[in-house]
């Protein structure tokens, strides 16, 4: 029996501990964020969960005005795709201080919202 590689649990557990993790292939060293059970570069199933620096730049964004029921009280909110330092990307809510507007290439750091679980905790804030 092949062991189940629980990458989603690893990601959610890490986010709950205020960390972002990815998977690193033990043969080709390629990193995937979010983590994957098979290396997306070489296909190897030999991966290790590794902590990634919670910093990146804003690639693109939107401002959501019509939200699903789970996010109704947040509107309008900025949702962006953030490129991490190892060229991996994540989607997340971007919370900027009053007077600061989102911009291409803006430097962002990860933050974690209390009262949420798993991926919903992740927030991106501007680097002050």
């Amino acid at each position: 029996m092949k062991e189940i590689t629980r990458v989603v649990k690893a990601y959610e557990d890490a986010i709950n501990q205020n960390r972002i993790v990815g998977s690193q292939c033990t043969s080709c060293q390629d990193i995937s964020v979010p983590p994957r059970p098979l290396c997306k570069n070489c296909g190897s199933s030999e991966i290790e969960i590794t902590t990634i620096e919670g910093a990146g730049t804003l690639l693109t964004w939107t401002v959501i005005h019509i939200a699903p029921p789970s996010h109704l009280e947040r509107v309008p909110y900025i949702l962006g795709i953030v490129e991490l330092k190892n060229n991996q990307k994540l989607t997340g809510i971007v919370e900027l201080e009053e007077g600061i507007n989102p911009d291409f290439g803006m430097e962002l750091i990860a933050d974690f919202e209390e009262g949420q679980e798993g991926a919903s905790r992740l927030r991106w804030r501007s680097r002050i």
Partner: protein, 383 residues
């Protein structure tokens, strides 16, 4: 080949089930041919979510049930907004394999039962639940992020996006089955309610009820069948990552490029051979990206050529003469089949006041999720 088609009115159709819509579209399709319902060997039902919209799982056997067919196999195919196109593709494969002679591929959705925010939530479930939905993504939001990236790289602005909506609304004036049959101006489109910046209400396709059906039979046996003769030249399908953020390029869909290339290769055709398109304009930017990624226009020029009228019904490459998802409506599971119906109408000379002249080849592109599934078909006018 496609021997017959049926298509209900698209719109808010009130208290009706998807099963009843499917019956209406199917009977219309059969009546074009010399086939009766008992000759249907198998049914492929494209449907996103009878579970959420109608509290009905296991919807597939409901189709032969309501058609009064005993024991006819029926399979539901779900591929987000590409469910309909994929139901046609599987119907074609079943006939092409020689296993079945007469297949019904039908798509339907009954979406207007729920409040808008719940429909938005249901549709968002087509995104990656773990990494995108938990982060508050919506489909307008995903396409808005692509629209912003496209504008940043290529200068595709709000006016160009609005020109897609204006064109497709104009086309729908001549489609009596369309949800919206009213002309739209660039100004009105650009100044409408902001949904997901920079996409406004008129950048988005509507919430729609409806069904569309096609009857697929072997081309070799065409002499045996009455009805239309529209030949299936090729079909193709491609997949990409569930999450938009896992793609290298946020200004287009690699899946569209791959699927279109496969469809051209299998048909031994090139983009210049195609006379008209029905593409998946769930959002205005999606049509712009589709006509670029399929290889009809240089990357980055899709917005400008639309604004210039090149893709209007009287342009050199008509796109979405039916009104597209934008104005004809977008009953999710029905959409991919509806595209095939429109191409079959045009190629059989049955498109009435919106008939395109001298058309031999028509192509469809049906998109699921944020381009995670793409289905393409190329059809040819038969004799």
């Amino acid at each position: 080949m496609i021997a017959g088609y049926g298509h209900t009115k698209f719109g808010d159709l009130g208290r009706v089930t998807s099963r009843e819509l499917v019956v209406a579209a199917t009977i219309e399709a059969l009546e074009m041919t010399n086939l009766n319902r008992n000759q249907i060997d198998s049914i492929y039902l494209g449907m996103l979510s009878p579970d959420i919209f109608e509290h009905q799982m296991h919807a597939a056997p409901g189709i032969p049930d309501y058609l009064g067919l005993n024991h006819t196999p029926s399979t539901r195919i779900e591929a987000a907004c590409a469910s309909g196109g994929l139901s046609v593709l599987h119907g074609i494969m079943a006939v092409a394999s020689g296993f079945h002679d007469v297949v019904l591929s039908v798509g339907a959705e009954k979406m207007t039962n729920l409040p808008t925010s719940h429909t938005t939530e249901a549709l968002a479930m087509c995104a990656d639940d773990i990494y995108e939905v938990a982060s508050g993504i919506t489909f307008p939001g995903a396409f808005a992020m692509m629209a912003r990236a496209h504008e940043h790289k290529y200068g595709t602005n709000a006016e160009m996006r609005a020109s897609v909506a204006v064109k497709n609304h104009k086309h729908a004036l001549d489609n009596e089955l369309a949800q919206f049959r009213k002309e739209l101006t660039i100004e009105k489109a650009m100044n409408s309610l902001m949904i997901a910046d920079p996409l406004t209400l008129y950048d988005c396709s509507p919430i729609t009820d409806g069904a569309a059906a096609v009857i697929i039979v072997p081309w070799e046996d065409r002499a045996d069948y009455e009805g239309i003769r529209v030949k299936v030249k090729s079909f193709s399908q491609a997949s990409d990552t569930m999450s938009l953020h896992d793609r290298n390029d946020l200004t287009g869909f690699m899946t569209t490029k791959v699927a279109a290339r496969k469809a051209f290769d299998r048909a031994s055709l090139q983009p210049k051979d195609i006379d008209f398109l029905e593409v998946h304009d769930c959002f205005t930017i999606a049509e712009i990206m589709a006509i670029e990624d399929m290889g009809f226009f240089e990357k980055g020029k899709g917005g400008q050529v639309t604004l210039d009228g090149e893709t209007a019904r009287d342009g050199h490459l008509p796109v979405n003469a039916s009104g597209g998802l934008k104005a004809k409506g977008h009953p999710i599971g029905a959409t991919g089949v509806s595209q095939i119906v429109e191409v079959a109408k045009q190629l059989s000379g049955n498109a009435e006041s919106r008939q395109l002249n001298d058309v031999q080849y028509g192509m469809t592109q049906n998109l699921g999720g944020s381009g995670s599934t793409i289905v393409c078909h190329i059809l040819e006018r038969g004799d």
